[in-house]
């Protein structure tokens, strides 16, 4: 029980830090740090989505950038053509990415192991190449959003307001993740990760469970993508790139795969590296690579694992 409280403490700390930093920045009139915190919140949301499939389900998807980018393009295209209302854009982003996750997942999940990794990578690449060769929406150059999207009653152009929206969505996603993890569905999903033969032997087919998890996962990451496009007022095809997929996995690993606040810790670490290390040298990714290598070889539980010890499964 002591271990459980330890992790809860860490989680509260992380949630608190993520809220306090932009509040402090707002009080001190340093909007740059609010933007940074918003970036953390959005990346964390994307990573919570991936954590569902990867951390709970053991599905190593190297193509989650597809959903991130689809969400982004949904926001961008709608803002150009239809509506700039977040309450319209979010459902569209979620449904669209969910649909793509359903179709690609139905094919990819028939495979396993390295096949699955390669196929998810390939599908994301397909969408990436499609996006850059479709000039109507910017092609290689990407798509700009002229204004921040609107939310009824909130002045979303203000950095702090937009941050609070993203933060609220992140907390909601974390709550959903926790409910899923502790539910029957979550039990089946985690059992599928640990031993799918055992799961089938008790009468639960792994495929439908994994597919549903994959779709939910894609939806969450898609939502994050729409927010990301909104933050930057720009949709870049790089949101669909394999580098982005790798980055999302890194976020999950750095923080602690499968841990509730792992994505939050991972996003914080990553953005910190990006800003601090990036300030020293433009080759900061070399250092990131070395750190990542170190984490994989020596510190497998990520930051949350390091601080809170091994997860307990009751």
């Amino acid at each position: 029980m002591k271990r459980m409280r330890g992790e809860t403490l860490i989680n509260l700390l992380l949630a608190g830090m993520l809220l306090l930093v932009p509040l402090a920045a707002w009080a001190l009139e340093e909007p740059f740090y609010i933007t940074l915190a918003t970036r953390v919140a959005i990346l964390a949301l994307a990573a919570v989505g991936l954590n569902l499939a990867l951390g709970l389900g053991g599905l190593v998807s190297f193509g989650h950038a597809a959903f991130f980018g689809i969400g982004g393009y949904a926001a961008g295209i709608l803002a150009t053509h239809g509506s700039d209302q977040m309450l319209v854009i979010w459902p569209v982003a979620v449904v669209l990415s969910g649909f793509v996750a359903l179709v690609t997942g139905a094919i990819s999940l028939r495979t396993s192991g390295v096949y699955f990794i390669m196929i998810t990578l390939a599908f994301a690449q397909m969408i990436y190449y499609f996006a850059i060769s479709w000039p109507a929406y910017g092609g290689e150059d990407g798509l700009s959003l002229s204004l921040r999207n609107a939310f009824p009653g909130i002045g979303t152009a203000l950095p702090l307001n937009f941050f609070l929206i993203c933060y609220a969505l992140l907390i909601a996603a974390l709550y959903l993740f926790a409910r899923i993890r502790d539910s029957r569905f979550g039990a089946a999903l985690q059992a599928a990760r640990q031993n799918e033969v055992r799961l089938a032997a008790v009468g639960i087919a792994p495929f439908p469970i994994r597919l549903v998890a994959f779709v939910l996962s894609g939806m969450m990451t898609g939502l994050a993508g729409s927010l990301f496009a909104d933050l930057n007022r720009f949709v870049s095809p790089s949101m669909l790139s394999w580098q982005m997929s790798g980055e999302l996995i890194v976020l999950v690993i750095l923080g602690g795969t499968g841990r509730l606040f792992g994505p939050v810790a991972g996003a914080m670490l990553f953005v910190l590296f990006e800003s601090i290390l990036g300030g020293f040298t433009e080759h900061w990714q070399l250092l990131l690579g070395l750190i990542l290598l170190g984490v994989v070889l020596f510190a497998r539980g990520g930051l949350v694992g390091l601080l809170a010890g091994k997860a307990r499964h009751g």
Binding site: I107, Y115, A122, Q125, M126, S133, L290, L292, V296
Partner: protein
């Protein structure tokens, strides 16, 4: 005139396929024998290209550059295997993906550090410059033809190596049962290093050869790597024959698709619309084919070792 263009595109498809085969063969060997998925293979391809360009620029000889690319790639492969890959044999695929992804970052930024962000240029050697006359009135670059020949030679060489030599025998045994061959006294560690270095050398060779056709720059390896994955998925992991068939298929489908689809769509949609739609669809074509094949054969066409 049309036949000449078609023949040229088919040859381009084969040349592209050869390049993919060199990458895929190494990847599938490494996975088949050692059970490791290696994302850093694209970096080895890039390394080969950079080594060739750098040495060719310094010495004026493409051929010295080619030798350098093979040596550099093989050496880098051996070092990476000894320092990193060795620790991944017992790990799950996620760890392997992450560690080799980290290697991509290290190699890419490291290369950018050494050589800067601007592309290097590599010239086609005088011996292989010029064009060759083909039936139908086309002229085809001698250099590209040479690449196809090299690819076929490598395929034959690999076949002979694996089917007829003792090393090949150990490789085949290693693919079926890793623990057993260790128990039988085969020096697994050296075998693994050799296999990894061999795969790396093939990637470096591909990179060097293509470097003369396109520019040599950081990040050139990953798109090829991903296509090589498609090849392996289609062909079946662990199967060199699958890699050959898959590479030819992917090379031809992709190249011909990019040529024929815009053309066909232009009939219906007019030249500029048709070109756009056709190009966009052509970029997705090979993945659609992959998905279709997987729908019927989830483990590829030549479902090799488990």
């Amino acid at each position: 005139m049309q036949t000449a263009l078609l023949i040229e595109q088919i040859l381009n498809g084969l040349q592209f396929g050869v390049m993919l085969f060199l990458m895929a063969a190494g990847l599938t060997l490494i996975f088949g024998v050692m059970g490791v998925i290696n994302l850093a293979h694209g970096s080895l391809y890039m390394l080969g290209a950079f080594a060739c360009a750098a040495v060719a620029a310094a010495t004026g000889s493409f051929w010295l550059g080619l030798v350098a690319s093979l040596a550099a790639a093989a050496a880098a492969g051996a070092i990476v295997e000894l320092l990193v890959i060795r620790r991944l044999y017992d790990r799950d695929h996620l760890d392997q993906v992450l560690a080799t992804f980290a290697l991509i970052l290290i190699f890419s930024e490291g290369t950018r550090w050494l050589f800067g962000s601007f592309p290097l240029y590599l010239d086609i050697p005088p011996l292989l410059s010029g064009a060759v006359d083909l039936p139908g009135g086309a002229r085809y670059q001698l250099y590209r033809l040479a690449i196809i020949v090299v690819g076929i030679a490598v395929a034959i060489g690999l076949y002979l190596l694996i089917a007829k030599t003792r090393l090949g025998m150990r490789i085949r045994a290693g693919e079926s049962d890793r623990e057993m061959i260790a128990a039988l006294g085969v020096d697994i560690r050296t075998l693994y290093t050799i296999v990894f270095a061999l795969g790396a050398a093939l990637a470096g060779l591909a990179g060097a050869m293509v470097g003369a056709l396109q520019s040599v720059q950081v990040g050139m390896g990953e798109p090829v790597l991903i296509l090589a994955f498609v090849v392996i998925v289609i062909g079946g992991i662990g199967s060199i024959k699958g890699a050959l068939v898959g590479a030819a298929l992917v090379g031809l489908v992709d190249t011909l698709g990019r040529f024929l689809l815009p053309l066909s769509f232009s009939f219906f949609l007019g030249p500029s619309q048709g070109a756009t739609v056709g190009a966009a669809l052509a970029s997705m074509l090979i993945y659609v084919v992959m998905a279709l094949i997987l729908a019927f054969r989830p483990r590829g066409l030549f479902q090799a070792s488990t």
